[in-house]
């Protein structure tokens, strides 16, 4: 198949996804309400823990509170799963027509996710306002902030590829939703979203820090709170990029197999 690559249609897909998500107003408010509850909960938990114990791993209370709140805001963006469409479209069979259209299905999923992300990014502003009323968040230096944004962007694409691979499982088994939730919960814990990976004991910490999940939340967050100093920025970003490359390759292999499988099934 041959087609000219154009950006315009993907931009339209993203705009449509944005508009579609914006109609679920109740869900929008629920998201903000739930975030406020969680910021409150995490604040009380860390206050109670720091009140009676010495600060572990040299992480001060204000750092852990910043870490937790930024992680929650990041999750508003990272929990968007545009590739969920694969599962839905496989179920109702419309994936067959996606393959016939003169567009790249993968970029279609990506732009749909990007549109949803744009809406959720807007949601961060009011959520951030509420969060700031409850806790004080440290402001990083301009260099740390810029590196954080770059690291977060790499984490975003890696997260997309991970979701993509997970959703492609649906090509082989239709009951992939529970499997995906299982992976989600494990990754919540192993990515450092709930607790900093520095709190993991001994050898366990060494393992989780090199797993791909760490590249999604932990690396940008440790850059933000200053636990990864400027001297180690390049090494940290490089390890993220390595995982990005691995998952990009994996995605290509899985996608090719999945496409062939669709042909065998008779689409």
């Amino acid at each position: 198949m041959h087609w000219e690559f154009r950006v315009a249609p993907y931009f339209e897909f993203a705009k449509k996804a944005f508009a579609r998500e914006a109609t679920y107003r109740m869900e929008v408010f629920t998201n903000i309400g739930s975030l406020v509850l969680r910021v409150y909960l995490m604040r009380m938990v860390w206050l109670a823990l720091y009140a009676q114990n010495a600060a572990p791993q040299g992480i001060a209370l204000h750092q852990i509170l910043t870490y937790t709140v930024v992680a929650l805001l990041m999750s508003l963006i990272l929990e968007v799963d545009g590739t969920r469409l694969i599962r839905d479209r496989l179920r109702d069979g419309s994936i067959a027509t996606d393959f016939m259209k003169p567009i790249s299905p993968v970029l279609f999923f990506f732009s749909d996710g990007a549109g949803q992300t744009a809406l959720h990014t807007l949601l961060i502003l009011p959520s951030l306002g509420f969060a700031l009323l409850m806790v004080h968040i440290d402001i990083p230096s301009p260099l740390a902030a810029a590196t954080f944004v770059l690291s977060f962007a790499i984490g975003y694409v890696l997260n997309f590829l991970l979701n993509f691979c997970m959703n492609c499982v649906a090509f082989w088994t239709m009951e992939s939703f529970a499997v995906q939730l299982i992976v989600r919960w494990c990754s919540d814990l192993l990515s450092g979203q709930i607790i900093p990976l520095l709190f993991f004991p001994g050898i366990l910490q060494k393992i989780v820090l090199v797993l791909p999940f760490a590249a999604i939340y932990s690396t940008p967050l440790l850059i933000y709170i200053g636990r990864i100093p400027p001297a180690e920025y390049s090494a940290a970003l490089l390890s993220q990029i390595v995982w990005l490359a691995v998952f990009a390759l994996l995605s290509v292999i899985i996608w090719n197999r999945a496409q062939r499988r669709l042909v065998v099934q008779g689409g």
Binding site: E27, T30, G33, A48, L49, Q52, D188
Partner: protein, 270 residues
Amino acid sequence: MSTLEIWADVYKQYWRINFLTALEYRANFLVWFGFTFIYHATALAALWIILREFPVMNGWTFGEMAFLYSLWMLAHALNNTLFLTVGDVPEHVREGEIDRLFIRPLNPLFQVLTTPQQIFPDELVLAILLFILATIWSNPIIDIWFVIFVPLVVIGGALIDFSINLMIATCAFWFVKVDALRWVAFQLEQEFTRYPISIYTKGVRLVLTFLLPYAFMNYFPATFFLDKTEDALHFPPQIGLLSPLVGLATFAVAYSFWRVGLNHYESVGH
């Protein structure tokens, strides 16, 4: 047949169908079992990791926090096993299926609770195993009161959990869509019962005690069983033994509200 015999017979058939469905979709069942297992395992793992770095939280150790968690999990799993289908009420209302309940000569709530699903008491079995482990870790005084009151507290906790779900489901008679409400209550329950409520501000402690009495599912009873002082609201620890009564009281309130909801729905004339 007496009414009671009819109810018992319907309930027996209901469980027979549940088990047969679970057997029929074995792969499906295994995946969802993995799901339940991982959900609780990650929650406990996070607790364990945090309490390795910080040995105590408001005077509670990891073993005691695990006991707190397992007490909640027992009540919650019992609720999920017996009363899960009450969560489908908003959908029944939306689809207009609720009308059918009024025609049949059986209590509508009983009909809701005996709508076949794929229910299996796997979570309850996991909860019992965790409770045994947590009891070994936290070392409470095991006497006759412990043996009598643990099951009663668990039943009370399941009733509390069920009653709150029932009240939210009843709101569907007015608002049809109650997803947001459900989500907030779900989060309050799942995350705010995980720690001793003494860590929260006064307002939240009062909400968790009197408005949505989740604290009676685990915090108050655990305080009593583990022989700790209750420093959230400065009650005597024996307050934890009231869980069964609190469960019955919340159920009475929830059931009255449900009846009001049913009447309101009829009066609209569907």
